[in-house]
Symmetry: C2
Subunit: 637 residues, 2 copies
């Protein structure tokens, strides 16, 4: 434990430890599947202090993924991985996509570059998409898990059946039948998380179905080391050729020193007579796809440039898929008493086309959202755990929050996929509207970046997200800047008082399960009767001590230089609660300007354990802050 | 291997693989000691492709360090760790020291802050010192080693004796007796590296001795979680109190969420009569030091502030030491034929006081310098390996280069230690020259940073460092900027042509054992008869193909925007040899201005495998470049 690279403070447990009889297979949480969603969840729960006794994560595969599958990490995902200490090696190894090139076909069998554009997410800490093999991301989680002293994932363990059966043990009302290395075991659990991917067994056992549509288009996807004179092979490209569309995704450098390339390849059968430009109108069947068919289409599409795999073993992985957007109606299943018990995350509750690079991201973010809510519930840290056992408003927000994101994803993906279909392109060409199509593409791409980057996600109103918390007539400016309830806290560089270091604010909000009170003081901090001092005094003496230790932290930001005073001149509670979390709000970045706050008035904000802003209020909104927190965390006095 | 987070291309082997008889303990290189120096060497040799058969690293300890010892990583060390893929977790976990506070005693039993100053190394990629437990640095190496498929360090293995014995096996003329888990084994090896620390067994067996002086001052050192109202406990401080001097070194956050503090504590006995200010003139004996004595002195020195360990178990580690500066006369020992066979690195060849934070750094940099020279020798990649078996000018540069650094270190440390001695302070006070002493301190501190940061190191003239390579009358400006033979290549941010990404130049020179030709083209690159095109043509067709693959790489920098041309408009050799190493020299940073080059003339430079610049020349200096490289690397044509 000592050796953990992460500074690690587990959440406290107010509930009793799980008690098992000899030989009993019983857990508080079972996670089915160790893909990106399952691993993220297992890692976070370990990080919060739930050990292997409490949480079991199973996967039917004997070892983790080695090649292929998803490969894009979005800016918000990188912020979250950073908050877990898992970003740095991925950033070091991965590829960062700075530019996008668009290629169109000019005359038959030839393509031509239309433009190169920069791609970045303004306001994000990591502005470019990072591409890297999904297996390397999974490895970061598995390596990281080892630091918590457990065995991590239990492999070769296939979930066969799952049912509610609360009669025998009402506290552990779920039974799961798991085939472990060929032997069947019966497990009991309080909560079960279905992270078992697109062909979810849990979904089948529970009799729930995804809804949506599947289009007929078949695409191939291939990872290879390319040998080509195509000039933009190291850029992210969209190529609209006669032979079909191709997406080029540049990838990380691999052991041989060369760089990998991923291609998404549209596959249609040539028509017999090869008339005019409509030679490839017939959809291919997925079963007909082979590596050779994909490569043949690639070679055609890249003309007049040559394209071939670079030497033996250059093709690392290939697959094919049919575009479709489908999702579950509800991401939570309740037991007979109405308590949410089974949770769906990742591909198990929403699937879509892979080209927008959302696969790993939305799945991991589902788990990121769910993890602390589950941990709080199991540890007895939710207010309801003691009062109303069969209702848990905190857990319920998992559905409301992530379902709305999944809907947006599906909606976006439908739009995005249509845009890339060949029919549409032909139409626009026939009508000589190519430029319209082009500028439409650019526009959609730019607009969608807010969503695809993950930074634009905004959670709806709930017990955790009070957008109407603040009374607008009291301070109309509040909540119109980047500090907005429902959105993630954007990063800033600030100078810390205690050691003068310039730090990223997000680094001082690691994902340790804590809520944070951010006190943006007004300029009158040194006035011991001023509203900043009063607010800090209330927080120190009333708010913070009400909650279990390690569930809430205070950060203080001051809108003026820090060299005019000593610790003794400012409220005692700053050093006591926030020695290393007290900053000058404008020496590096101007926090007040960026967050849209008035330095003369100051503000208070609560950031949830997942980095989303719960409420934004005035320095005088202390009772309301206390009320909000009391709705999120169990009180101890 | 696939899974290595480092892109990994081993160096080629021109020499035969090592042949062993059944049961024979025989290696090409044996490293004695797995402290920072030994681990750095073992890691690098693995990275170059030398496996456990070839290289054995032994250590007598059963496991790696857990607490204490050195804790400061200097800017240059971080650059090197980054080039090995090992920096990021350390940067994430470690503490970055941005400020320095100086405290003086005012009247008896009281201290007062004189000033706070920023500390940083201009021109370095990582401007602040990073502090972190030595054990966590060692762990990065050990974790990293696992990716190369071997077992890493052989522990519980104590070197007992080492001798030359070339009669039996002249190619493996060293025998080493090692106690492995209680049984004695006799190993043979070609080369042996003494990384066995201050009390080196190899030194004793070889009958060589360190020379230098030891002062009488005894200091204590203690790592703890502090509970104090001292305002600067989170800053690096020098405190000159009545009770002796104290250095405060803020450290990383630990598992409990609190931050560690290291204190270096001057220890003197109080005089009996306690006259005036000279109460503590008598030196303490090291044997008399205990944790309690250190803490008592700390409590006194911090007055009027309180200081105590924060709760049980707050004291993590403590030790005591006597200041001394000593080093070996020669860092290499030759066999009877005159061939350098035994190499000393780290504390085994130089020791000094710990306060300047050089301990781990200079030791690791010794190994960094030696590693590729040894690897080239063993792999048959040095030119001499085939022609003159008993002389190896490349290996000999290890002594000339690192001995001069050690001398500088000793010299610096003497100056630095004197500056902090109490006597001196008393003198200055008696003469009312305190301000002189103070400004002298600041000045020395600033000047010494060039050295302590590791970025100022300049290697002397040798076969690897040709300062006189260039004829100054031909281009007097060359070599007067930051691009200077003998110094490390400073980092820059540049825009890459192939993918438009902004990259750190140093990241495209990872420590993979390659030499690099840097071609700073002149503005006439597009003119196919211009001198840039001619130079690139010569490099492509004559220079690069002369050497074994993976021993030399080409980087090309162009002093103008990149959007005015396509690959086909520039010399073919750029894409062939440097597809992902071709940059715009001024869109992000202005490489030509920073490196002191004239864009109208261009330049050529060779960077050695350790990031130091070997030569700087004009674009027309091609024959001389070829000659230099021929003196460093075996040719294959
Ligand atoms: C073949 C393939 C190709 C893909 N290609 C792309 C692509 O090109 N681009 C892209 O963005 N995305 C791609 N994806 C999707 C991407 O990998 C997913 O979006 C992402 O992995 C979702 O993560 P997840 O954890 O929800 O599910 P998954 O990664 O699917 O993980 C589910 C895990 O559950 C395990 N499991 C399933 N059933 C059981 C059971 N009954 N018992 C125990 N364990 C079980 C599985 O072995 C698996 O490890 C691809 C997926 C697949 C399967
Ligand atoms: C007790 C102590 C306290 C220190 N405190 C500080 C400090 O406060 N600040 C600071 O900057 N530096 C400090 N140092 C120095 C710092 O740790 C060294 O400068 C640094 O570790 C040098 O690295 P090295 O690899 O050369 O030697 P070491 O780290 O000493 O490594 C030598 C290794 O060789 C092994 N070894 C020795 N003999 C044999 C043998 N016969 N056979 C096999 N293995 C052998 C040892 O077990 C050890 O692991 C301290 C060192 C010690 C020992």
């Amino acid at each position: 434990m000592r050796e953990s690279p992460f500074c690690w403070v587990p959440l406290p447990r107010l509930s009793p430890e799980i008690a098992k009889r000899e030989g009993e297979y019983k857990h508080e949480i079972i996670i089915v599947g160790a893909g990106p969603a399952g691993l993220m969840l297992k890692f976070l729960l370990s990080h919060y202090g739930l050990n292997d006794e409490s949480v079991l994560c199973i996967d039917d595969k004997p070892k983790r993924l080695d090649r292929g599958h998803a490969d894009g990490l979005q800016p918000r995902t990188m912020e979250v991985l950073k908050s877990l200490g898992l970003a740095d090696r991925i950033l070091h190894t991965g590829r960062h996509l700075w530019e996008f090139a668009f290629w169109e076909h000019t005359r038959e069998k030839s393509i031509k570059r239309s433009f190169i554009a920069p791609t970045m997410t303004e306001g994000a800490r990591y502005k470019q998409v990072t591409t890297i093999n999904q297996g390397l991301v999974e490895r970061e989680f598995e390596d990281g898990l080892l630091h918590y002293g457990g065995k991590g994932v239990q492999r070769n363990s296939k979930l066969v059946d799952v049912q509610f059966d609360g009669d025998e043990d009402p506290e552990f009302p779920i039974t799961a039948q798991v085939d472990v290395n060929g032997t069947t075991r019966r497990y009991r659990t309080k909560f079960l998380v279905a992270a078992d991917g697109a062909h979810s067994t849990v979904r089948r056992c529970m009799g729930v179905h995804m809804r949506g549509e599947s289009r007929d288009d078949v695409w191939g996807v291939i990872d290879l080391v390319a040998d080509t004179d195509f000039p933009d092979i190291q850029r992210r490209c969209f190529i609209q050729s006669e032979a079909g569309s191709i997406f080029v995704v540049p990838r990380e450098q691999i052991y041989s020193g060369t760089y990998l390339t991923r291609l998404y390849v549209e596959l249609k059968h040539p028509t017999k007579n090869g008339l005019c430009r409509d030679r490839y109108l017939h959809n291919m069947r997925r079963d007909d796809v082979s590596k050779d068919i994909i490569m043949r289409r690639v070679v055609e599409a890249f003309q007049p440039y040559y394209f071939r795999p670079k030497g033996d073993g250059a093709i690392h992985w290939w697959s094919s898929y049919q575009i479709g957007q489908r999702m579950l109606d509800r991401f939570i299943i309740e037991d007979s008493l109405g308590m949410g018990r089974i949770f769906f995350v990742g591909d198990a509750c929403h699937t879509h086309s892979p080209k927008a690079g959302q696969g790993m991201n939305v799945s991991m973010m589902d788990s990121y959202n769910l993890s602390w809510k589950l941990a709080y519930s199991v540890l007895g840290l939710t207010p309801q755990a003691t009062s109303l056992p069969n209702s848990n408003p905190i857990l319920e927000t998992y559905h409301t929050e992530r379902f709305s994101v999944a809907q947006e994803l599906i909606h976006f993906d439908r739009k995005y996929s249509t845009m890339f279909s060949r029919e549409r392109d032909i139409t626009s060409r026939c009508n000589s509207h190519r430029n319209v199509a082009l500028s439409k593409f650019i526009e959609t791409h730019r607009d969608s970046n807010e969503f695809t980057s993950g930074c634009g996600v905004e959670y709806p109103e709930s017990v955790l997200t009070m957008k109407l918390f603040h009374r607008p007539h009291e301070d109309p400016s509040l909540g119109v800047g980047a500090l907005k309830a429902g959105k993630r806290l954007p990063d800033l560089r600030l100078k810390r008082y205690a050691d003068g270091s310039h730090c990223n604010l997000q680094d001082d909000l690691p994902s340790n399960g804590c809520f944070r009170v951010l006190c943006f003081t007004s300029t009158d901090l040194l006035d011991s009767t001023g509203k900043s001092a009063q607010a800090l005094c209330h927080l120190s003496s009333t708010t913070l001590p009400r909650f279990p230790s390690s569930t809430i932290e205070q950060l203080v930001i001051y809108p003026a230089p820090l060299d005019a005073f000593e610790w003794e001149h400012i409220p005692h509670g700053i050093r006591y609660w926030s020695e290393m979390r007290f900053y000058n709000g404008y020496e590096v970045n101007d926090a007040y300007a960026i967050y849209g706050l008035d330095p003369a008035k100051g503000a208070l904000a609560i950031v949830r354990p997942d980095g989303y802003i719960g409420v934004v209020g005035m320095l005088t909104d202390l009772d309301r802050i206390d009320h909000y927190l009391g709705g999120c965390i169990a009180t101890i006095r």
